[in-house]
Symmetry: D2
Subunit: 467 residues, 4 copies
């Protein structure tokens, strides 16, 4: 396993990564992005501390629902980079089990790469969303043929690809870019049916970073985003050569969607886990600030907190059901149940903004108007600010001020906005999540049950309609 | 076990039961209520057919989550009377495990009664909701002291009770009335802290029945309510004597809520099971009518069905989580998890009316304007009505007409209204369900998680906040 | 103007109208439908009492917003038949102003008919919704070419039409059927681009009635539906001859939608007016039952009533805005603003089921379990039922029982179900109402405002973005 | 009228204002706050350009609904400082009309001050929300008696006050602080029943500023917040002397709520106006980005935009109804209707977060991941970024990028968070808005209408129940 320091050193590999119009020469030392590097390095060291046999404890394929649950927990706490990497590895494992028809060479290459990557303990980010051009047209009918990543040249050694992948979380901070088709492809779109593994520092790869990391002088006002921010990469493949052994699909249009479907499942599982924990945190914040405000016995506040609790419980119930009803795939790998995973992810995302509204309604306007901690330290106004931010002898002014700052950081500032957008968009927008849920629902059973109730089909069960 | 015929005969015991102003002399032969008797009789015969050892297969206490699941399934299909009875038996079992402090005699009496009742295969209904008078006042401050059932006299042999219990499903169709306090009582309210088992035909018991059963000439238009309707009983205790061995609580105010809490759990489990199955039926109906209307490829119809699927899946996820996280009580009895049960019940009830709106929106106005089957049989207009109710060569006019009738019966007629009301009210109104959910939620853990995210507490987990 | 008695006599005209499989010979004397006839007759007599000059006070075209408001109010209180008739007359007036391009003869025929109809004080119902067959196919591609009403034969004197019109409120109780295309037609669909006025008793017209009218012995339990129920007609045109002067469109496909659009506006205005008043009634019922239950000081009850108040106020605000921003059409007729009318109608319908849930949540299960008034009159149980339905010395048991019955009748029984369905479906389903709202919204202005805020267009206003 | 330059100069008056721990010596020259000063100065110059007689066109009291509408429009476009000032002036006018009972001297002082303030064209901010301490306790029972602003000393010349006012928009940028009680006071709370006008530079006044203004290097990425940001002031009265002629209430507890109620009305009117315009801007952005993405013909996108349109229309309908039903107060001043104003404000706030979700769902993840304009200008990656941000020949990459930036700035970044919080909190939280709506609703009329429908009261209207 790599140490944090080894990880840091590994980034000095000539990668072409940009931030607000300038190329970044020194990622670890960058004033805004450096903190991200440190966070990933800490994750490396922490996982090493969890290892029992010198290998990354989240590597390997889960064989039982319990193993799946354990690994998901570990990844969840190891941080975004570990999560992104785990999602990539599991996507490859899932896809390998579904790609036999496309050609055995792809399965072999994927397995060889995966083994090597786990051995060298590198980090892989998944690159899925294309630029996409006009959403109403297929890849082959775009004004710009590069709107979807495609093969523009090929030789006996490999292929050359061109295009861009957007919203690639942490792209500049990993080592490999798992580049896969964004969706199903049709005959005639062979050039777009391309999956490949591309090193971040391959010639022609250029990454523009955007971030919700705070620009304020004092990180204490950003207890979440000041410590953990993962830039999104706008990844450009400016005619990048890929050797054959890193090509995992090349023109087999009927298999183009395998990777995206495999990824979607794991991405939504990750999303669901975060949402379940995040929903509990929102409940906790609502209760803490209600206590600090002296509101815990007010009817409408109790009602709102109860709604938040029910939301958190329902999201977690979906996670539980997804793990309990985990399914086993081709190579014995255990996968979360797709129906429950999607329904939970959808519910978590769809109701999130309302839960934010409840939290704001309980907390009050000081979420956005609480003095800074610097104000609390100013000798002229600090003692007065503390006095008036305190609500009783038992509630310290600074403590309450910090509660407001974490609520703002989480829900009413740059990170909060990023969260609202990505909650909805992760896994493809609410619409996409509805489609996937529908696809995995047992509609025939539901129709039969309806016909039985209507008296239009025979019931195998007892005398009651049971509804 | 009783046969259906034995059950019917058992009702001729002098019970004083009323319907629309008249005393009912012959329940099995009553034009509106007779069908209910037949339904219960069928349930007896069906359960007998499921028995492997000559005893009622739903009797006995579940010892494992799997046993719990099996029994719940059986009860669910055996019909409302079996459900009401099972809920009563499990309430007694649960309460017995929590009543040791009130006095060992109560535990003994409950166990003796339960054993006898299961042996004689009788049916028990739970009587909980009092008349309640002015909801803003406690029992002891009501204008009418009888607003809550109370002890008005006592002798060495037993007690005399007075009061009324409302919304008692199937009260006239069982053999015993499990009469329990509707809520917690305080010191000074000893006379109201009374639990007892009272035969339906005990002198002084008078029951007024109300029902959503259809009054129309042809039951085919009511495929649900025409076959299964369970009158609600307005049960009056007009000074009823109860011998000591049937008194399960008598003045111990601090234990008054034990029965209601025990009942609530099982009632909500039953409600949750019905809602999960019912939500699937609603999805099935929406899909069937969309198909019959030629609407399956219309965007907004697909969206609405997807929302209904997600609703059904989320409700079922809560049921799954409640069973997986089942808890074990004092006598080894397994109980569903209270948090998930309540959150699921709440969600099912709170979103039900919206799901009905979706179904109506997809189905169209023919839900309430489809011709009757009698019209379809009229020689002058029947063939024309069939012709115009058909939507293509593949969709028969009568089939589609019947789909509209079942949707109306389920959601837009007397039974549909009863369903909307009781969905919300079963288990005490949405507000009560919020309170119970909140009570069972691990708020301390949520607060700690929030403090960790705020940087105000130490985290035992990894480097990531995990949200 | 006709008297009520003259109206009753006018129905004995040989019309072929059916109910539950039997032809109705005597409408005024029919056990279920007779009450409807009486209701219409009362409306005739009431309007006569409102007349100042011997003519129907709602006839004539409104020329100012105030006149519009007055007429809408009058119609609203005169009853469903007057409403249906007014909507038909205004539809014809609106359509006449938009039909010049289709041919002057149509405008002349419409005006001649309208004058005559107002003079003879007859009632016209609008027949719009076709059987429609498979909704995914146009009229000309249906398996059954009669799925939409069409011309099947023609002579120099007139045309012969065939087809059916569904959900035609009160069709059997008026004198004329204003038969219009259900939607826009395309070239090649000339036979379906037909509008005509057809007497109810024309040979070949057959009407099947369905109704939510109660079948219970005592109408007191149905204070709304027992007094006012308007059967829906399933109107069949079994090859009906229409003379030329009653044909208002015949093959001009590009004008086929004029009637439906004209009707839609007035139908939604009627719907909006009912919803505004209905929403206030729901608030009133919620408050009355909360008072009777002793719940007025409970937090969540106050919250729910406040939500109901806001709903009622918002719906009424849309009605106010629609009348204030009324527009003037070709012949000087004043029309309600389409944008506000539709947005209000949509809002009223979309939130209705939630308001019902609130009302049920406040009222409690007695909505569906309150004893009948017959029970209250029974000497054995009546006094006891009254006692336990009373909640304090100030709240009489019968009064409270009646409140529950009206809530049930309005929201949780046959009429309630009909209301939920027709709320959503009147004007074409929620989807149709979204489309219409969108069509009338000033999207160019909204886009310009957005560009100004984005700094991508110049602002003519002041220094503030104003948002 | 003051010029913008005169306004700037007026700020150099010794005021004690702080930002992130440091006292601000030069407001116009401050790197973060200076832009605010410029914005206010521009508003002064713009209003001067609108003047026809050399006086501020928004001064004076509206005498007709049309005048009210005109002034509201002008204020709305003149910017936040003009709005805050107008709200203060109208609050004083409204309160003066309601304060006769408290003492004629208060009315006189208010009118004298108002005349003078309008003459000297200064800006007044309203200071209402106290620190409030423990919300469950009244002012007199707080651990810290200063939790609500109070009189701590008095002399023949005036009084000395102590306390803090929070969330005071633009406090540091006006000239006077209209300090009023936050709520009703009870006997015994005389020291807290204090209203006064205090110069910003009065000795003892200290203001801590917080702001959502961006800290990024390039303001082009913040087209809204980069140009218009109004810091919130945490205003501390550290024993401030107020001469008698500036004291507008002093101990008359029964009148303490007059100012807050007067302010609430005007604040909610301002909020409603902003919401109506803001909702249209949201629709425009949704449509523009849907067009740029090629999504305008996708079903679920059209549905979401239609929902946003209906929301915008309903909010505007409330504004229209509030202006049409404007009421006239004591001195002939015209006030918006309170019921419609509140219902509209509530609706706008309650649904805002859902509208944001719709916008995010339509726009996609690029809301938070679009490259910066600096990236677009970088020679190495700029052309590539433009290429991939373009979606067709007709949609320029930079144009689309700017759309994402304005959506982010408005809804998914610091300003967006501030907006979500203040939407809910302005006017006191959703709960407060429910209470106010309820207070102004004609509940007696609603109850009567309900009784009529129930058959329990006589109807003065026609034969129809009209619902």
């Amino acid at each position: 396993m790599l140490t944090g320091e080894q990880y840091k050193a590994s980034l000095d590999d000539g990668r072409a990564t940009y931030f607000e119009g300038e190329r970044v020469k020194d990622l670890p030392g960058h004033p805004v992005l450096g903190q991200v590097v440190q966070n990933v390095a800490d994750g490396y060291d922490w996982l090493a501390g969890q290892s029992v046999d010198g290998t990354n404890p989240v590597s390997g394929i889960p064989r039982t629902p319990d193993e799946l649950r354990q690994k998901v927990e570990l990844v969840h706490h190891a941080g975004m980079m570990a999560h992104v990497n785990y999602t990539s590895i599991m996507t490859l494992a899932t896809a390998a089990g579904r790609l036999a028809g496309a050609g055995p060479q792809y399965v072999e290459r994927i397995q060889a790469f995966t083994t090597s990557a786990q051995h060298s303990d590198i980090r892989i980010t998944q690159c899925i969303t294309d630029a996409k051009g006009d959403r109403s047209l297929p890849p082959s009918r775009q004004d710009d043929p590069d709107a979807y990543v495609r093969v523009v040249d090929r030789s006996s050694d490999g292929i050359v690809i061109r295009g861009a992948k957007l919203h690639i979380t942490a792209a500049s901070f990993g080592h490999e870019l798992m580049t896969i088709p964004t969706k199903a492809m049709k005959p005639g779109e062979e050039q777009y049916a391309i999956a490949a593994m591309i090193p971040v520092n391959a010639p022609g790869v250029k990454i523009i970073n955007t971030t919700y990391a705070p620009r304020h002088p004092d990180p204490r006002h950003f207890p979440v985003s000041g410590l953990e921010s993962f830039p999104e990469g706008f990844v450009i493949f400016d005619d990048v050569f890929v050797p054959n052994d890193r090509v995992f699909l090349d023109g087999e249009t009927e298999h183009a969607a395998v990777f995206a479907h495999s990824l979607g499942l794991w991405e939504r599982l990750g999303g669901l886990t975060s949402m379940a924990d995040g929903a509990d945190v929102m409940v906790g914040l609502a209760q803490l600030i209600a206590e600090a405000n002296g509101l815990t016995r007010v009817g409408h506040v109790k009602e709102k907190i109860a709604e938040m609790i029910i939301h958190a419980t329902v999201v977690r119930a979906c996670l539980e059901a997804a793990l309990v009803h985990a399914e086993t795939g081709v190579f014995g790998a255990v996968f979360p149940n797709e129906l429950y995973t999607n329904a939970g992810k959808y519910t978590g995302a769809a109701s999130y903004n309302l839960m934010v509204r409840h939290l704001h309604d309980i907390a009050g306007a000081a979420v956005v108007t609480a003095p800074s901690l610097l104000d609390l330290e100013n000798p002229e106004v600090g003692p007065l600010a503390r006095k008036y931010m305190s609500t009783s002898k038992d509630v310290d002014g600074e403590y309450r001020t910090r509660l407001f700052h974490v609520i703002r950081d989480l829900t009413a500032d740059s990170y909060g906005g990023w969260k609202q957008v990505t909650n909805v968009q992760a896994g493809g927008g609410l619409y996409a999540q509805r489609i996937v849920t529908r696809k995995h629902y047992d509609m025939d059973a539901a129709k039969h049950a309806a016909l039985v109730v209507a008296g239009l089909a025979q019931d195998a069960h007892g005398p009651s309609k049971g509804i």
